[in-house]
Symmetry: C2
Subunit: 431 residues, 2 copies
Amino acid sequence: MTTTTPLRVALAGLGTVGGGVIRLLDANRDLITRRAGRPIEIVAVSARDRSKDRGVDLDRFAWIDDTRALADHDGADVVVELIGGSDGPALTLARATLAAGKGFVTANKAMLAHHGLELAQAAEAARVPLKFEAAVAGGIPVIKGLREGAAANAIARVYGILNGTCNFILSKMEAEGRDFAEVLAEAQALGYAESDPSFDIDGVDAAHKLSILASIAFGTQPAFADVSATGVRHVIAADIAEAAALGYKVRLVGVAEDGPGGLFQRVHPHLVPIDHPLAHVTGSLNAVVAEGNFVGRLFFQGAGAGDGPTASAVVADLIDIARGEYGAPYAMPAAALTAPSRADSGERRGRAYLRFTVQDKVGVLAEIAAAMRDAGVSIESLIQRGVTAEGSAIVAIVTHEAPERSVAQALEKLRGSQSLAGQPMWMHILG
Amino acid sequence: MTTTTPLRVALAGLGTVGGGVIRLLDANRDLITRRAGRPIEIVAVSARDRSKDRGVDLDRFAWIDDTRALADHDGADVVVELIGGSDGPALTLARATLAAGKGFVTANKAMLAHHGLELAQAAEAARVPLKFEAAVAGGIPVIKGLREGAAANAIARVYGILNGTCNFILSKMEAEGRDFAEVLAEAQALGYAESDPSFDIDGVDAAHKLSILASIAFGTQPAFADVSATGVRHVIAADIAEAAALGYKVRLVGVAEDGPGGLFQRVHPHLVPIDHPLAHVTGSLNAVVAEGNFVGRLFFQGAGAGDGPTASAVVADLIDIARGEYGAPYAMPAAALTAPSRADSGERRGRAYLRFTVQDKVGVLAEIAAAMRDAGVSIESLIQRGVTAEGSAIVAIVTHEAPERSVAQALEKLRGSQSLAGQPMWMHILG
């Protein structure tokens, strides 16, 4: 089983994760050779700036100026892409590599969300591996957990905390009672959030990842366009405090469900019951839950980002390839994936958290309560609290189970009301 | 990639898990065929009693009276062993199956703990799969998580809650403030604990599992004989209450660590800090933590037993085999596994919880404190509480970090003391 023929790797992208992959292969070289049955060796690298100091010795690798040329580099069996971006050089390289009959490993969730099906088809046609464990939840082996670990199960629902930046911000808001903007600014100053944080905090990054998980869990073609995504921008300190008083934590949860009504995919802030494992996921950790019809609830948690964890996932893919243990990227041949129809969220039933910032005047509560009643939404609890310097107060409501359509109707009735200051906040309660 | 040639399975053992495997393959047949690229079909079964009603139709399978003969059953590619027991018919069948050049899938932790290396060598010699995901932590893919998901990492430590019966009992003691014997009796009446519960509650079952995890995590030959195992029999309600007051939960934790001093493997009740994910693992759930040098802390949680979860793991192994995605059972060829030396636990440093049941008389505390001082163990906190009807009280101590040898010396000094009623309890504090 052991062979001395190395698996030869060409590496595109030498940012934090690229550097992490080089450091990992250096640090754990002997162990990886024992585990993989053969050495894994980087033979060529490509990045934008050759002169930049990355803290690793690059002289031992061939330097390729034209990233696209890695695909045809004679010495390489596999290309690892750590450039990022849904299109552009990453996609060009992916297509060229698979067309050249070489394996392709990537951490690029955006590219997979948009072009995963095409790439899987190309990989299967060429009979080469396409692997992307690092694209979802960093170092946590969730792709493998769904594709293989839970493979015997019909999965009813897969969901989780898929963006570490958002979870870091929510955890800090929770621990320190501070508001979003303030914590975001601090996270940016510390380098935990990008200077343009929109991809993270508006839920796009989590939506990319969710679409990949859903495809593997349900045997459906990736359908990123059908993910409804909101982020954490509108969560305020009072939401977290009210949730805590009611026995919940606020988490940005990506949820995918497959049912008779179609495929439902949503990234949205949720109230998570304190006894649910996701409630204990703090800081920049990620976590994924899969619910199978025989295994029950599987829970995976770990570091969702960072050079070490991401490199761990990239190299795990390389070890699978070196061992010859790989197959259809989306758990079944691309041709067997069904085209999903998008489920209508209005039909979904659940409990909702609604928070209104209201003018402190007579009749406000009556107006809100009437809108809820008229839409047929029954109120489980209602708290009105505090008056700010601007003379506004917070009304936080938890509803009984109701169709989302009805909740939307109630909010529609209240639109433009003179009693409300700003947009209401609607969070779903994880059931 | 898709083929219509089924993977043909011979199934030995038709208890709860065997029945679960049949039900699972029936319920998820089409999905499994899509995922595995080919059908997975049971062709023959064997069990002690043919006439017993198991709630599944067995007439469609060949019935083989002599279990050993499944190994030579012409129609089968793989044998699934769900008989149990470290030796006897299970081991005979394992040896015969591998000798016959067929794959072997088992949930039998006891057999692997005792004979895993021999079986891995036989499987590798015959170039056939040997898989045992169901042997550790039921439905949770932890074997895969370590063997593949964390394969890029040097693992410093692997530990977890590996016995659902013990965790169920501890959780119930915690929730209801009751003592061990009472809760055990109830668990037995409910069928959650065996009528002879020793394998579970004395830590033997968890030790079997820990030795398997350690081998895969560290690349060492399985060394079950080197696991030091204690169970939960001597945990009393007061221990759980004192732990809670100090910010801990009591859990039976199996810990394996590989270091310069050798391989350390222990199953013992631990105090787990309330902010550690293992503290939130309640009821009969299992959970495993692996700490890698690049990935950091990975956490896996799910159902550790039961027919559905165990069948899920068995069939996941079959799907890997049907896909052709398998290799060395212990993550590297058996010949590459090193022979571990057993670490001396006396050298370990950690904080300890010590509980003494004492006579309520003058000088008891002085005697305990002197013993600790003489052994060089510094006390972080001490609580004396309550006097029972028999006139005894509880003294609970948490020590500062100290070598375990010193703590053992302190307890040795107190041995036979007239002040103590019964054996002291020593639990390690998970660091």
